[in-house]
Symmetry: C2
């Protein structure tokens, strides 16, 4: 009976003392980072491609190194090359909130490191997931039929893209099951010109021919939301050509402009044609925990699925996406596997919340214990605290929108609905309707703001207009940061205008 040979390089990966020591060093590192994050340039200071690669050795070290050295290298080599998503002056893309509670939940998930892919692989993890998705659905005012308590159900995935791929596959297999697989060439999917482009990527991924993506035009008249009439016109044409309308993606809070598609009207069109209706509320879904925003989800009872990302504006560290479906069996029919080595107590395949095999609700077999993260966030801040978090940002965005509207050099391009303000410089001097000049001025303005390191924003182009996006919602962002960025913008705008006036 041998025993383990002693080895100088033997590691004790979960020795409690070593674990505590390393972990506390990282906590201290991060606490200092949060204390100082507003001192870093928001967008990565060093944008030279290949910089980090040159700093690091060609191969992994042969011998283990102390945590202090590792953290020192993070500080020296990595931080200068990061864009600081948690900076209070990060207004780019959409917010991706970290929080003490989200982090604590993430630590529990990573530390327990259970893998609730089948129910028996960790029953409490699977059940906690059924509980928190129901909690979330109730907070958003979703219809009962999307909750476990009403015959539907939900799952926590990593991203909206995954949710869209899974529901596209469910819709496709529902239709192909009826028509035969060779009809895949007839399946048509619908979205607006404002829908996130990952929808097209998802449709392509599940085998829908690229020629069968319909991108329906929107306009300022509907605030860049889809209209039922426009969808009907396109769908009717496809039906007349013998094609099969498969899936309509409605967005509540588009990425570019924060536009809203009318869920109820689109749901009625979808119903009439047997199409799957998905409602993507990735960003704006968080706002729906406040009753004043729940109207945007009106009609969700006509949806086959709804998704939103707690990892955006809901203080839940990346990644976490809630997906609810009205008929879990349609999802699991497209995604189930049932090999011998996974047969276990709890594997019943009925889609009942009591003993659910979440591997059949997502792309991957393995999965993280995300439920505990979202649960800690909900417990630690409470619905009231989370509403306050959302409302402070809406208040700040409203303030910013009014400031922009009141300044004759600027214009609000699309009326704000949530916490995203889309605006541009449009000074009243020669050339104010000269789109080429305005495009150049706004590009310069944005570049100047971002180069300052004091704030980071991104842009969008709509109807040929270059629009600057201020997405309020960072975990540390308060009114004063929004006031600061407005001051910064005004100063940089003066410079740009002055330069153009000299040149003009």
């Amino acid at each position: 009976m041998g025993s383990l040979p002693l080895d100088a390089s033997y590691v004790r990966p979960l020795n409690p003392e070593a674990f505590s020591g390393d972990s506390r060093a990282v906590i201290d590192f991060l606490a200092e980072y949060y204390r100082d994050v507003d001192k870093y340039p928001v967008r990565a200071a060093d944008l030279e491609p290949g910089r980090l690669r040159k700093l690091l050795p060609e191969a992994a070290p042969e011998h283990g190194e102390p945590m202090e050295d590792v953290l020192e290298d993070v500080r020296r080599d990595i931080l200068p090359g990061l864009t600081h998503w948690q900076s209070p002056s990060f207004f780019a893309f959409f917010p991706m909130n970290a929080s003490a509670a989200g982090f604590a939940g993430e630590m529990l998930s990573a530390g327990l490191n259970v893998v609730p892919f089948v129910w028996a692989a960790s029953p409490a993890a699977a059940e906690l997931e059924t509980v928190v998705v129901d909690w979330m659905g109730r907070l958003l005012g979703l219809p009962q039929r999307l909750l476990f308590s009403g015959g539907g159900g939900g799952v926590l995935q990593g991203s909206t893209c995954e949710a869209v791929v899974c529901t596209l596959a469910a819709a496709r297999d529902r239709a192909l099951g009826r028509l035969g697989h060779d009809n895949i060439m007839k399946m048509v999917v619908y979205a607006s010109d404002q829908t996130h482009t990952t929808f097209q990527k998802g449709a392509r991924l599940v085998g829908i021919p690229p020629s069968n993506f319909r991108v329906i035009q929107t306009s300022s008249a509907s605030g860049y939301g889809l209209t039922a009439d426009a969808v009907r016109a396109v769908v009717d044409r496809d039906v007349a050509r013998g094609l099969v309308p498969l899936y309509l993606c409605a967005t509540v809070g588009t990425t570019g402009l924060g536009a809203v598609d009318p869920v109820r009207e689109l749901g009625e069109v979808a119903r009439r044609h047997g199409m799957w209706l998905h409602v993507d509320a990735a960003y704006a879904g968080s706002a729906a925990i406040c009753p004043e925003f729940q109207g945007y989800l009106d009609g969700a009872e006509l949806a086959d699925s709804v998704s939103m990302n707690p990892h955006k504006w809901f203080l839940t560290n990346t990644d976490c996406c809630c997906l609810w479906v009205a008929n879990p069996l349609e999802l699991t029919s497209a995604l189930s596997t049932d090999p011998e080595y996974l047969k276990n107590v709890g594997t019943n395949g009925t889609g009942k919340p009591a003993a659910i095999d979440y591997k059949d609700w997502q792309i991957s077999l393995s999965r993280r214990f995300r439920a505990i993260k979202l649960w800690v966030v909900l417990r630690r801040y409470g619905a009231g605290g989370l509403r306050a978090h959302i409302r402070q940002h809406v208040t700040a965005a409203k303030w910013f929108e009014r400031a922009v509207a009141a300044d004759e050099r600027f214009e609000v391009v699309v009326p704000r609905k949530f916490s995203l303000v889309c605006f541009r410089l449009r000074p009243r001097f020669a050339g104010e309707d000269d789109e080429t000049t305005l495009d150049g001025m706004n590009r310069e303005l944005l570049a100047a703001v971002n180069a300052s390191g004091q704030a980071f924003m991104t842009h969008f182009v709509v109807d040929g207009k270059f629009v600057i996006r201020l997405a309020v919602g960072g975990a540390m962002t308060e009114m004063r940061h929004v006031m600061d960025v407005w001051e910064l913008l005004q100063g940089k705008a003066d410079d740009v205008i002055h330069r153009y006036q000299l040149e003009g």
Copy 2:
């Protein structure tokens, strides 16, 4: 100029003091958990479906609660319903290692919470990823052409399933680009009867007709590995029928039995037919950091892609899967999106490591900073420490295999290659070749072991035999735990045999 209204429920999500307090409480909780984890029943003690759901309220709390209360609820309500994947006596499925370093890396990822989906969104995060996948590839002895330094490249995804879906999509689009999308009905994919069933799920997900999955039989003669002859026979038949061989999945270390498909021979078949060859080394890939195991990857230069999971046996907390491809453009051609609001410095779409947009290398747009996790693991333990970690488990598995072989009541069903031992009870008394009786005895033996709470193992069925799997590889698993489980098995075997002899 308004200012933020004071609100009693206002939360300060990243206040450094609150962050440190909450985080330290979780660290202490987890250190205690690791200290005591071998005292919990390994498989969840409470397997009654719905137990946790009944304990928790119907809705999220309105007011935030202290972290202590949350942790107390984890201890009281959640831990009893978890299967303890980090227990040193967890021998089920495959190991999913947590470690102090993996956890520290996870904390840095979650704490910094940057989203390196496009290069400019955090240049250092994207570059660190290109560096660590090259480091890993070199450690495994992969051919240069799969590394960035050799014209290929890698990405960190969440799971093998994702890697398979992405490479299937790349293979499909490579073929359809040549043949036209309507040829999707002709695409055929190949795997063995030992290949993970998620391969079929992935193929179905990307729209391959289920009738075009070929499951090629293996046998004990080849150690349940695919043979080139068997693949050729099936492929030739498909080609003769006008079908298009698309993708062959070879596995190094199958889930059921740890079998190995011969990469070089299969690569030659794949080349001849223009098929994509993927090598799935999810579990056993970790062993290839030891030179004595690198032979199993011989021929990888013929592969279009290779994947392995550091989150299994490589001390990297869930989730982390390395995917390498020989031709990144084939991957990004299938997965790229290029909307206006993502156009930024660094977006060049050339697949060059210097300024890589990783959103085009995976399913989702958003992504976690996984690179820092794997990097901390490699730095903290070093290649030498990681080899010691792997070898101690191989040594323990060898010991167990010998013990089983030396006990006349048991048999090793398939010779061990890595750290997975597949065995069964086969006592020399009446009925030793009576498969029904052996099946019943082994099921009883496994159930008795798992019910004891002292260890958790899972099973597999091959050639009609019910096989017990001992997968050695837990982060805390040492030789003594393997010796303990052997003693436990012997005792339970005595009971089962005694019962059968009385009944017989």
